[in-house]
Symmetry: C2
Subunit: 414 residues, 2 copies
Amino acid sequence: MKIAILSIGDEVIFGEIVDTNAAHISSRLYDVGLKVQRQLSVGDSDLDIIEAIESLAGHADFVIATGGLGPTVDDITARAAAKAAGRRLVLNDEALAHLHGFYKKAGRDLLPASEKQCLLPAKTHLIPNPSGTASGFVLAIKGTSFFFLPGVPVEMKRMLEETVIPAIMAQNRQLQLVRTRVLKVFGLSEPEIENLLQGVARPDAGLTIAYCVMFPEVQVKLRAEGKDEAVLAKLLAEGAASAAGKLGDYLYGEGDDTIDSVVARLFADKGVTLSLAESCTGGLVAKRITDLAGSSAYFMEGAVTYSNAAKTRVLAVPAALLEEQGAVSSAVAISMAKGIRRLSGSDIALSVTGIAGPEGGTADKPVGTVFLALAGRSDSMSKRYNFFGDRERIRTITSFTAIDWLRRYLLTLP
Amino acid sequence: MKIAILSIGDEVIFGEIVDTNAAHISSRLYDVGLKVQRQLSVGDSDLDIIEAIESLAGHADFVIATGGLGPTVDDITARAAAKAAGRRLVLNDEALAHLHGFYKKAGRDLLPASEKQCLLPAKTHLIPNPSGTASGFVLAIKGTSFFFLPGVPVEMKRMLEETVIPAIMAQNRQLQLVRTRVLKVFGLSEPEIENLLQGVARPDAGLTIAYCVMFPEVQVKLRAEGKDEAVLAKLLAEGAASAAGKLGDYLYGEGDDTIDSVVARLFADKGVTLSLAESCTGGLVAKRITDLAGSSAYFMEGAVTYSNAAKTRVLAVPAALLEEQGAVSSAVAISMAKGIRRLSGSDIALSVTGIAGPEGGTADKPVGTVFLALAGRSDSMSKRYNFFGDRERIRTITSFTAIDWLRRYLLTLP
């Protein structure tokens, strides 16, 4: 079965936004075992939209098109689709009723111009849009079913789940199944992982591996293709177990896990409380910890002590230590962690001090020099890192490494 | 002139990553006045790549293709391109010399298997890759020039700037120029802005307006098309001035400005210092303030006081106040701001307390209830907001609103 995605909008084709809709649709179809064969994007131009529809009609079985169904002048998808299908554009009563109902429910007044979004190709089937005003529609052109959806992600996503995927699955005569498992790895480079995992893939049996660097982590994608669900599950289970054995504690999670969610679960499970003292990450670690609902159960307090004065006053880092060792040093990192732990009474405390750049580097401590420290009830440790890249990259990998420290500490890993 | 982009990679077509390369290329070409007509993505399959190349050859003048030039088994772009062009695949001496030189310079050993990335179509021109190992190449197929680049963004971007764009511009016989200005607006909805800006666009003169919601801000894109650089500059200047007059202080910046960078500049210019006390944003505001280099000059300190105990101990918020008014209240927000200002000695202090959800809401104070407060040397103020959406959305708009408060305070706006 051949499936294509068509994204319509000047903002995509001019590079003003990144096309997350296409990625979302591809990913959701892949989840249910369907491969997208191509993604195509064109701008808000009648000619380009018609040409795109014609290039896909008769070639793909299904096309999921997004964008250009709204009420403004640059929303011309319905008109172009009608032309491509050789249909008239008519005011669709059902779409109109939905539009009026939507405004009534929201208690807002409807501008007459908004009715434009109900001008749809004649004899089309509507795709209900429970979250927005613009109805979607289905058109068959040269044997290809085109699903037209609005480009607003929250509306498109719901219509995809509720109407489009069920419609495609109902006609799915494809016997080839695709199943995947994604392993999340931090602390090894892509070549190191590829080297470790030699022999795990079994292309003859239908099990392949792909690697995807999502800085600073690497995702290992195990993919099984075949006709028998049970065989694929077994292939993936064996592959994942073999990979896990080779990756050891660099493997932190799988699937929807993020290092943040894994660590959040560990804190909740173990009933351990946390406080943070940050310098160069400036609140980024605290932000990541509190991104997740429920973090108030274990996260007690964070101090963003950018200046030396704040380090001394808030965290009681001795001024002499700052003078002698410098703010970016192992001794200051430990003193910061101990300081915030003492203040907050948390079980453990983590601190970060470093030079995120672009200014502030020296020969001894160039930009990217970072010290992490962790203080527990009776122990403390610190380590120096030398990261590379720009300010954003250094702050990202520093926060990732800090959160991985928490994971390793809670799991009593090295 | 017709330009297309071809993204090659299973990770794009399976929705595992969002195709930022296509957006970057489109955006850079648009900057130099070139419109991309279509973006096409296919997976790592010989057949699909060949079909994509054939569908573009003879139709576009230029195609910029990315991805699949590396050393691993799933890198098959060069082979497919050679087939589509009817050429043999040969070991390219120049590419090989670059590869060896690259490894020698990095002091690393080259695995023999890595030489695979030097197997390129015969009689091709190389595109130098100063930042990586895989050389790019140019192929002419049916009068269309195909530029093949690696998918690694940092490598692709440099090759685009240094080789591809100059090559296209050298053959640019297009007389139609496109110039844009982007106005950044916060605090008004898209329909409100559209309503305010009626009459600013002058489609007959070549000046159009598009709106792009980048939650929680809205970008207003003024586009001028025509043949004369000076005329376009004047059209844009007039359009921007007229729009600015209508948008008033909701217009916070233009072009590459972000609300964070605008506020950073204001702090630096005015020599004012800042401290922060955050509850529900958990460090997000501090993170945004310190994202920018140079923030250590004005950002003194942040306190992430998640628990009531921390609010009392660190910020001296009276326990009785927390008891009577609740942690999410105007009085507590003001007490938090005054507390951190007193501690840090900063000129101004901003505080955030609220319910980001999904738990913790009540009938009186549902999820999304947020209080901001600001304390200066002699004044203080607070305001209640009722935001909607999930935890991430609420935290995002809260941090945006907090930073906009700083902008308005520093500019003495209401």
